[in-house]
Amino acid sequence: MRSILVAAALALLSAPAVLAAPAQRVAVRVNGLVCDFCARSIEALLKRREDVERVHVDLDRGEVHLALRPGSTLTDPELAKLITDSGYAVAAIRREDRP
């Protein structure tokens, strides 16, 4: 009984931390990003993930900007694989946490 109570207390304490986890914004510099029609592949693949809230492709800067939902588990290698699978080459990934 005591262990159950401890587990419940830990769960209650950790819940606000999860809820308060900051949304993440990620900028990916992508080589080959010159065509809107072709870059739809990036949007199509990234939006399959539930933790990706928004995708914006900046053709002028050759970058893809993502807004990840709080608690997103998308890692840099996973993100790089998604961009590569959509037909492009990742040059750099930059993350910025925002509450």
């Binding site: 080959g32 010159v34 029609f37 739809r40 592949s41 914006h56």
Partner: protein
């Protein structure tokens, strides 16, 4: 076969999809492509399992030779060069199936194509060579070269416009080299092309991705 030919010709005339458009989509994506020019019309529906290749069903009407080819088609993205401000691609496509001349018996047939392109946000060049064969019917070789520019650089999600000059040689058209002007517009996953050849022929192409 006459009914099938007539139905296919009607379908080709109604649609429009460029062979020059990107023949491999994103993994899990479908693409419908239709092509119409004075020498040939074609329709293709393909599925892309991975970024390296696509497979689908194609039907092509050789308008100069009055014969038809229907069957499965596959396209392999041999290599893609992703550069900081440009992209280039090399594709190989092939298909095999049934070919028939109007009113004739179905015979084995097929085609093979190699296609390459380079583009940045302002300029694009593209080349293609293709060989089509219908057993006991005809063998046709075609080459095409395109170069064009975007009159304005549009952002993501806007309507994009490209203007091309094109040269096309087709052995079925007595080897004449036909110049053409083609305008391309695309928005999101829909691409449309319209053009006119030096002898007044109409070019209508379109591509839909979903």
């Amino acid at each position: 076969m006459r009914t099938a030919t007539a139905a296919l010709a009607a379908a080709l005339a109604l649609g429009a999809g460029p062979a020059p458009a990107r023949p491999v989509s994103w993994p899990g994506g479908w693409t419908a492509i239709q092509d119409w020019n004075p020498d040939m019309g074609s329709v293709l529906l393909h599925y892309t399992p991975s970024r390296h290749w696509s497979a689908g069903l194609a039907a092509r009407r050789m308008r100069e030779g009055d014969w038809t080819l229907v069957g499965p088609q596959a396209t392999w993205l041999v290599h893609r060069w992703n550069l900081p401000a440009a992209q280039a691609n090399l594709y190989v496509s092939g298909g095999a199936g049934a070919a028939w001349r109007d009113g004739g018996q179905a015979r084995p047939g097929g085609f093979a194509r190699v296609q390459g392109d380079w583009e940045n946000r302002r300029l694009m060049v593209m080349g293609m060579a293709e060989l089509s064969h219908g057993d006991g019917i005809e063998t046709v070789d075609m080459q095409m070269l395109r170069a064009g520019f975007a009159p304005f650089v549009a952002g993501y999600g806007a309507v994009h416009l490209w203007l091309f000059g094109q040269l096309r040689r087709d052995s079925a058209a007595r080897n004449r080299v036909e110049p053409a002007f083609v305008a391309r517009a695309f928005h999101r996953t829909v691409m449309l092309e319209a053009g006119v050849t030096g002898t007044g022929g109409v070019i209508l192409n379109s591509t839909f991705r979903f």
